[in-house]
C-alpha cells in the first residue's frame, strides 16, 4: 500500500505541530520518522493512523483519500511505545481481538481465528506463551505481542510509535533486527517513529528527518549521513564540528587566513563550516589549513577525540585522531576537513524555524 501525505498541517490550540508536510511512501517500504522530541514525528504518525485529524491537507492510502475515514475504518496496525496491551486478556486473546470484534459477516470462524492467532505468535516467537497474561511477560515480549496483535488484522500499513523506546539497550538491538526480518517476511508498508538515529539509520529503507514540525530531509541512511541538506540534519545525525568562516571569491577564510578550501559557487559573506570530526586529514605544516592548540582529549572506542582551540577567539572544535597519535595537551595540531559543507551564517541562527536553505558547495 502506497501512502501519500499531502500538505498536511496540524494545529493544537494555536501551536503549529506540523507545517504543510508532504511525503510519499512507496509500497513495502520501511520508513523511519526521525527527530528530537517536539519535532512532530509522532503527530504525523497519529494523523496517518487516524488517531488525530489534520487541520488541513489530505492523506491517501493508495488512490483512496483516507482523511475522512475513522481510525477503525482505516485498517492500520499501530504499535504503541508502552505496548497498550489489554491486561484482562490472555496473549492469544489480545492477538485475536481485532478479528473477534469484526461484524459477523466478515468474521472468520472461531477455529480460524485461533489458528491465525497461534500462527502470528509463532511468527513473533512467542508460541508457548499464548495463555499468559501481559503482566506475566517481559517488556520485549509484550512488544512482540503488540506487533502480532497489529498484524492480525492484516493492516494496510503498519505504524510503530517509538516501539523500542521503553526497552533496555540489549533487547532493543535484538528486536530491531527482528523487526527488519518480520518486515522482509510480510512486506507491509511500515512507518516507525524514533528519536534514536542509530535505530533509524540501521533499520529503515529511507529516513525522514523532522524538526519543529517540518520535514528537513528524506533519504537513505547514506544520503542523510553523507549529504545532509541543512545545518539541522548535519548537527542532528552523527557527530559534527562547526567553525564560523567567511567566503571571499571562492576561498574560505577563518579569521585572517585562508584554510585551503575552495567553494567557487558560494556567494561572498559569512558562513558556517560543518565537518565530521573523523573525516579530517592531519597536516604537518600549515599553509592553508586549520590549526589549533590541543585541549582535553578523551577516548572514544577505537579513536581519540581531541578538542582544539582555534584562532584568537579560541573557538573550539573536535577532531578524531588515531589512538597512537602523539598529540599532548597544548601541542599544535593542523588539519583540513576531507568532506565538509558550508551553510550561510544567517541561516544558522534561524535554521530550524525557517524553510530549508539551499545547500551550498561541497
Amino acid at each position: 500500500m502506497e501512502l501519500s501525505i499531502r500538505n498536511v498541517q496540524k494545529e493544537f490550540g494555536g501551536f503549529n505541530a506540523l507545517h504543510e508536510v508532504s511525503l510519499d511512501i512507496r509500497s513495502g517500504e520501511l520508513i523511519a520518522l526521525l527527530g528530537p522530541s517536539g519535532s512532530g514525528k509522532t503527530t504525523l504518525l497519529r494523523l496517518i493512523a487516524g488517531l488525530d485529524f489534520p487541520s488541513s491537507g489530505q492523506i491517501f492510502f493508495g488512490e483512496e483519500d483516507a482523511s475522512r475515514k475513522s481510525v477503525s475504518e482505516r485498517n492500520v496496525g499501530f504499535v504503541f511505545q508502552h505496548y497498550a496491551l489489554f491486561r484482562h486478556m490472555t496473549v492469544a486473546d489480545n492477538v485475536a481481538f481485532g478479528l473477534k470484534i469484526r461484524p459477523a459477516a466478515t468474521r472468520p470462524t472461531r477455529a480460524e481465528i485461533k489458528r491465525r492467532a497461534l500462527e502470528l505468535l509463532d511468527l513473533v516467537q512467542l508460541s508457548g506463551l499464548a495463555h499468559r497474561y501481559p503482566s506475566q511477560l517481559s517488556g520485549g515480549q509484550r512488544q512482540r505481542v503488540a506487533l502480532a496483535r497489529a498484524l492480525a488484522i492484516e493492516p494496510r500499513v503498519l505504524l510503530l510509535d517509538e516501539p523500542f523506546g521503553a526497552l533496555d539497550a540489549q533487547v532493543r538491538r535484538e528486536l530491531r533486527r527482528w523487526l527488519r526480518e518480520i518486515h522482509d517476511a510480510t512486506g507491509h508498508t511500515t512507518v516507525f517513529v524514533t528519536h534514536d538515529q542509530e535505530e533509524a539509520l540501521e533499520l529503515a529503507d529511507r529516513v525522514v528527518v523532522m524538526s519543529q514540525g517540518r520535514i528537513e530531509q528524506v533519504g537513505t541512511a547514506d544520503q542523510v549521513y553523507d549529504n545532509p541538506v541543512s545545518p539541522f540534519v548535519y548537527g542532528f545525525i552523527g557527530d559534527s564540528s562547526t567553525l564560523p568562516v567567511r567566503v571571499e571569491q571562492g576561498d574560505v577564510w577563518f579569521e585572517d587566513r585562508s584554510i585551503g578550501l575552495r567553494a567557487p559557487h558560494v556567494p561572498d559573506g559569512e558562513a558556517t563550516l560543518y565537518f565530521r570530526p573523523h573525516d579530517v586529514e592531519l597536516l604537518d605544516g600549515c599553509g592553508g589549513c586549520i590549526a589549533g592548540t590541543a585541549g582535553v582529549s578523551r577516548r572514544v572506542a577505537g579513536t581519540k577525540r581531541v578538542e582544539l582551540a582555534i584562532g584568537g577567539a579560541g573557538h573550539r572544535v573536535e577532531i578524531e585522531l588515531p589512538v597512537d597519535h602523539p598529540a599532548a595537551t597544548r601541542s599544535r595540531i593542523a588539519f583540513r576537513p576531507r568532506r565538509w559543507k558550508l551553510f550561510p551564517a544567517r541561516e544558522l541562527a534561524a535554521a530550524p524555524a525557517t524553510p530549508l536553505p539551499e545547500p551550498v558547495a561541497a
Partner: protein, 279 residues
C-alpha cells in the same frame, strides 16, 4: 538463641509504642466487644438459636434487608459507573460541584437523610404526591427502603471506579480503535472488563453498607413486621424487649455476612492484582 525478629529491622524508633497502642485500642474498641457478641451467641444452644433464625419475622426481615440491599447495590453499580464516567471524561460547567456532591451521603447524617427522604416520598411529599394519584406508594414500602439504600450507597461505586478510570491509559483505547473496534465495542470489551474489579469492590462496599444501614431507612420504611422491617431494626426491637440473646443471634448472622463481604472484597483485589499486575 536464634535471632527471631517479629518485624523487619528499621532505624526508625517508636514501633513498640505505636504498635502497642494500636493493638490496645483495637482490642478495647473492636476485638473484645465483637468476641463478646459471639460468646453471647454461643450461650444459646441450638434449640434456642434455631427458632430465632428460622422464625417468619426474622426470615422476612432477612429477605428484605438482603434483597433490597442487593437491588440497590446493583442499581448503584450501573449509575455509579455512569456518574464516574461523566465526571472523569466530560468537561462541563458545574462538574466540580457535582463531583463534590457525590460524597453527600457520606457527610449527611443518616437520620437527617432519613427524615428528608421520608418527607419527599410520603404521599403528600414532593415526589410521593406525583405517584399517589396512581395508587403508587413509595414511602413505607419496600420501594422506599430501596430508595434510601440507593441514596446511602451511591458514592461507593463512583469513588471506586473514578480513580481507575482516571488512570486508564488512552493508548489502550486507541489500540482498540486501530484494531477496528467501534466505540461501543471498545467500551464493552476493553474498558468495562478492566474496570470490573473496581466496580465489584464498589458494589460490595455499597451492599455491605446497605445491609447494615439503619438511620436513613427506618423513617421511610414503615417498619411493619414481616413487610417493611429490616434486620437492624429487628435487633433494636429485641433490645427494647431486653431479649439480648435473640438480638445477639441476629447480630451474629449479620456480622458473619459482613465478614464474608469483606473477604470477597479482599479476594477481588488479590485476584485482580495477580491477573492484571500492579499498575
Amino acid at each position: 538463641m536464634a535471632t527471631f525478629r517479629f518485624r523487619e529491622p528499621s532505624i526508625i524508633p517508636g514501633f513498640r509504642l505505636t504498635f502497642g497502642f494500636t493493638i490496645f485500642y483495637l482490642m478495647v474498641i473492636v476485638i473484645i466487644p465483637i468476641a463478646g457478641l459471639f460468646l453471647k451467641t454461643f450461650e444459646l444452644d441450638w434449640q434456642a438459636f434455631y427458632p430465632i433464625i428460622s422464625g417468619p419475622r426474622f426470615l422476612a426481615a432477612l429477605k428484605l434487608s438482603f434483597g433490597a440491599s442487593l437491588l440497590a447495590a446493583m442499581f448503584n453499580a450501573v449509575i455509579g459507573v455512569l456518574v464516574a464516567w461523566v465526571l472523569v471524561r466530560y468537561e462541563f460547567p458545574g462538574r466540580r460541584a457535582l463531583d463534590a456532591m457525590v460524597d453527600l451521603p457520606f457527610a449527611l447524617p443518616t437520620a437527617v437523610a432519613g427524615i428528608s427522604l421520608a418527607s419527599i416520598y410520603s404521599p403528600n411529599g414532593w415526589i410521593g404526591s406525583l405517584f399517589a394519584p396512581f395508587g403508587i406508594k413509595i414511602a413505607y414500602t419496600p420501594l422506599g427502603i430501596w430508595i434510601a439504600l440507593v441514596f446511602i450507597g451511591l458514592p461507593f461505586v463512583v469513588r471506586s471506579v473514578q480513580p481507575v478510570l482516571q488512570d486508564f491509559s488512552k493508548e489502550i483505547e486507541e489500540a482498540s480503535a486501530t484494531l477496528g473496534a467501534s466505540r461501543p465495542q471498545t467500551i464493552s470489551r476493553v474498558m468495562l472488563p478492566a474496570l470490573l474489579p473496581a466496580i465489584l469492590t464498589g458494589f460490595s462496599l455499597a451492599f455491605a453498607r446497605a445491609v447494615g444501614e439503619y438511620g436513613s431507612v427506618i423513617f421511610i420504611a414503615g417498619n411493619l413486621p414481616r413487610q417493611t422491617e429490616i434486620l437492624p431494626l429487628l435487633i433494636v426491637f429485641r433490645l427494647e424487649e431486653f431479649n439480648y440473646a435473640a438480638a445477639a443471634a441476629i447480630a451474629a448472622v449479620m456480622l458473619v455476612a459482613s465478614f464474608i463481604i469483606l473477604l470477597a472484597i479482599n479476594l477481588i483485589q488479590v485476584w485482580s492484582q495477580r491477573r492484571f499486575g500492579n499498575g
